[in-house]
């Protein structure tokens, strides 16, 4: 009997496979392709205290083996989210992780407080969006700021919190340690890597926002390295992400130290990716006689 169960900060997931925030909406659009009951968790698109318009278009561009996005955290605001998205997700036997974004500490706290009585399992705090001026990136690039915001949110949160870390830093371990020291229950990484593409025919920026976040298989080795480094720096569990396209990639992240794994940009390439990763992990366990998937975490 294969045991794919994973425990992250006291929450038990049927398997480690999740969706990376912003690539799966609130699951509605992809429920036509994937049985959400088969996933460990759905991690929602970031939600703020009020609706956000997001950035002008073009918001997405393809790059070699990846893509750039500068959506700008467009979202309908927490009130609509509570009324519409949470009831939708509650129909499924999967964990719900709500990604929270904000422009100030007060914004985050407002969302976290509104979610206090909601049937959600964990909160992922986006302090690392590179695409909005005050999208939290400032909180995610300075250990002191990260410590302070984490402490403030942790004091108000009713659910365990996951601080989502930016890769756009010199030393990821400093950030991981700051989140842990401030009481974060887990960390997730990596968010996108700031990039740029120029249209040589129009001689202008390919994205209206000029810069965007790079994701997809192109960034996977960086993500694996950072998960490995973070795993050796902190004791709190890690959710790893960055270019996961199949079960082999997911297992790589787990061996590097991730307890959970999230599929991001590859949902756009193959809408069945999440379900295929779940199946592929089981096949890997069978192939190597692994009874408990948790036993492989951080073993490299």
């Amino acid at each position: 009997m294969l045991n794919t169960k994973i425990n992250i900060a006291g929450v038990e997931f049927k398997n480690p496979v999740m969706t990376a925030s912003g690539t799966f909406g609130s699951g509605m659009e992809y429920s036509e392709f994937v049985d959400l009951n088969t996933l460990g968790a759905v991690v929602t698109k970031g939600v703020a205290n009020v609706p956000w318009e997001g950035n002008p278009t073009p918001r997405v561009q393809e790059t070699y083996g990846g893509m750039l996005n500068a959506i700008g955290l467009q979202n309908p605001g927490i009130d609509v989210f509570i009324e519409r998205d949470i009831p939708f997700l509650k129909q499924y036997d999967t964990k719900i992780i709500v990604n929270v974004c904000g422009r100030s500490a007060a914004d985050y706290v407002e969302v976290v407080e509104k979610l206090a009585d909601q049937p959600v399992d964990m909160l992922e705090i986006n302090v690392s969006c590179p695409n909005v001026k005050h999208g939290g990136i400032a909180f995610g690039q300075d250990p002191k700021c990260l410590f302070d915001i984490t402490k403030e949110i942790k004091a108000k949160a009713k659910q365990p919190i996951i601080m989502k870390l930016s890769p756009n830093v010199t030393d990821i371990t400093e950030m991981a340690k700051a989140a842990e020291a401030a009481g974060s229950d887990a960390i997730s990484l990596i968010n996108t890597i700031t990039g740029m593409k120029i249209d040589i025919h129009k001689r202008t920026f390919a994205l209206a926002n000029k810069t965007g976040g790079l994701s997809g298989p192109a960034i996977k080795p960086i993500a694996v390295r950072m998960v490995y480094q973070a795993a050796h720096a902190v004791k709190i569990p890690i959710i790893g992400m960055g270019g996961i396209a199949n079960a082999e990639d997911a297992i790589e992240f787990m061996l590097a130290g991730a307890s959970g794994v999230a599929v991001g940009a590859m949902n756009f390439v193959n809408p069945y990716t999440t379900a295929e990763v779940v199946k592929g992990i089981e096949a890997y366990m069978e192939q190597y006689g692994i009874e408990n998937l948790r036993d492989i975490i951080g073993t490299v």
């Binding site: 909406g25 659009e29 036509e32 278009t57 997405v60 605001g77 298989p217 940009a265 949902n267 809408p271």
Partner: protein
């Protein structure tokens, strides 16, 4: 029952029909559900190019479960598609988006307007429009490579404009309407943004209804990533901001509802 899925379709036939313009029929199980104005996402086999290319549906053969797409080679993805031979695999996701509101044509004098690579979706639309008082198909090309104009002529009166004046009215579709003195009640259009802006203005001036098909850089094609939005006049029912998703809420919009 309409259902989106990604599957390996098979190329049935492909030919080049103008400079840089290719005409491909594919066999796919999603063909029977296709509606005029919908599109499919076509994936490259080159895995360095991850994102699908959204391509409008030109024609539907429900009996044989085939779709026709007519596309311009614009980069390495479409260049790969252009090399596909009959029998070869082509990965598609569809059918996507909402089609044109065919019911708006009933009893009306209809203009179908296509510009350049916006012409293809006009063909299935022209085929499926029923009960219109008249159908004028106004199409704009760069030059006298009038791709699809013969197919279109089976379903309405075709009026041509060319940028270089080598066929029909010299200029664009708006010039063709003026020079031929055409009059209509409702417009269905697809083409470059300047054309769609001109049509929006023209329809507003004339008090006509206009339904325009938009395009934008897309990633997911199914409404999840929020990459391909258009500014809307009213707050969008899904996003709760003045941005609607072209892939799912569009690509066809009433011209007056969008800020373009």
């Amino acid at each position: 029952m309409e259902h989106k899925k990604k599957e390996a379709a098979v190329v049935y036939r492909q030919q080049q029909i103008a400079a840089g313009i290719f005409d491909m029929w594919i066999e796919t199980s999603i063909a029977p559900q296709a509606k005029p104005g919908q599109f499919i996402s076509v994936y490259t086999q080159d895995k360095s190019a991850l994102l699908p290319r959204p391509i409008s549906i030109c024609e539907v053969d429900r009996k044989n479960s085939r779709l026709r797409i007519v596309y311009r080679v614009a980069g390495k993805g479409t260049a790969e598609f252009a090399g596909y031979k009959p029998g070869q695999r082509v990965d598609v996701l569809g059918t996507l988006g909402n089609g044109f509101p065919l019911e708006k044509a009933k009893g009306k004098k209809v203009f179908l307007m296509g510009g350049g690579i916006g012409i293809p979706p006009m063909l299935e639309l022209a085929k499926e429009i029923e009960g219109a008082a008249s159908v004028d198909i106004i199409v704009g090309y760069r030059n006298n490579e009038l791709f699809l104009s013969e197919d279109l002529a089976k379903y309405g009166q075709v009026h041509v404009a060319t940028e270089d004046g080598s066929a029909g009215t010299k200029g664009n579709v708006m010039n063709a309407i003026a020079s031929e003195g055409l009059e209509g009640d409702v417009i269905f259009a697809c083409g470059p943004m300047p054309m769609l802006r001109a049509i929006k203005q023209y329809a507003a001036d004339k008090g006509m209804e206009a339904y325009i098909s938009l395009e934008e850089r897309m990633a997911c094609g199914v409404g999840a990533c929020l990459g391909c939005v258009v500014k809307t006049k009213e707050v969008d029912h899904h996003s709760h901001v003045n941005n609607a998703r072209i892939c799912t809420d569009g690509p066809v919009y009433a011209a007056e509802d969008v800020e373009i």
